[in-house]
């Protein structure tokens, strides 16, 4: 567990969900931590292509997420790097993490699996190990409960 995974079921065909992920208009419609509108979004949806999303956050924050498309396989898989050109949290300065999005057709729509990994340099370097055991997950759950 070098990051976390979120899963959503969406009552839409995979191509529509994939467009929402890989077009500027699509990204502008949902990106960001709250309901404030995205300032601008750009994406060049091909391997090696760049994306850039400028978005505000409540309390006057101003952020720009940038990255490179590492894999794009419409309408089922998107992998990209993630970092901030400005804004973000101080602890993230200079960090490059990784986002993987997989779409799987299910009855009535699609299941989206969103994984954000490489959230610490050390973990990112050791990500080939991927050997997070049940023991660690248990610890995380335990302390997550305490922290929550």
């Amino acid at each position: 567990m070098t990051g976390f995974t979120l899963v959503r079921r969406i009552a839409a065909r995979p191509s529509i969900v994939f467009e929402a992920l890989t077009t500027a208009d699509g990204i502008a419609a949902w990106w960001g931590p709250d309901d404030l509108p995205v300032v601008s979004a750009e994406i060049d949806p091909r391997v090696g292509g760049a994306y850039r999303v400028h978005f505000p956050s409540q309390g006057g924050g101003d952020h720009e997420a940038v990255g490179e498309i590492l894999e794009i396989d419409p309408p089922s898989r998107l992998v990209m790097t993630y970092s901030y050109s400005f804004g973000g949290e101080p602890a993230e300065a200079g960090r490059v993490s990784r986002i993987e999005i997989d779409l799987k057709p299910v009855t009535g729509g699609v299941e989206l699996t969103f994984t954000h990994t490489g959230l610490a340099d050390a973990v990112s370097m050791a990500s080939h190990t991927r050997g997070w055991t049940g023991a660690f997950d248990k610890l995380v759950r335990k302390f997550g409960e305490i922290a929550g």
Binding site: A91, A93, H116, T133
Partner: protein, 119 residues
Amino acid sequence: MVNHQTADLDRVFSALVDPTRRAILARLEVEDSLSIGALAEPFAIKLPAVMKHLDVLGHAGLITRSKHGRTVDVRLAPQPLREAVDWLARYERFWSPALDRLVAYAEAEEARAAEETGE
């Protein structure tokens, strides 16, 4: 300027990357406190190797060691792990509402596309 918080988190995560160290932490979670000898017992590695792992865990602030006579007791120090979990949770709090909006947007687009094609 060195970001101390980030450096601390890196130490915690890199300490957690190793399966032996995670196993040590998992045991300390249930045992409260263990001597180094007792900790080393289930592992197929020599005591000096265990000591090295304990140094890494100690450096990351994940354990505390205290001397009692001739034995050293090791205890879990949960705070750095809590901080690491909080840090991950911040990202989760960032993406979770965004994905909820993505669901709403894609479903509205789907409804529109279905209407256009008369499906």
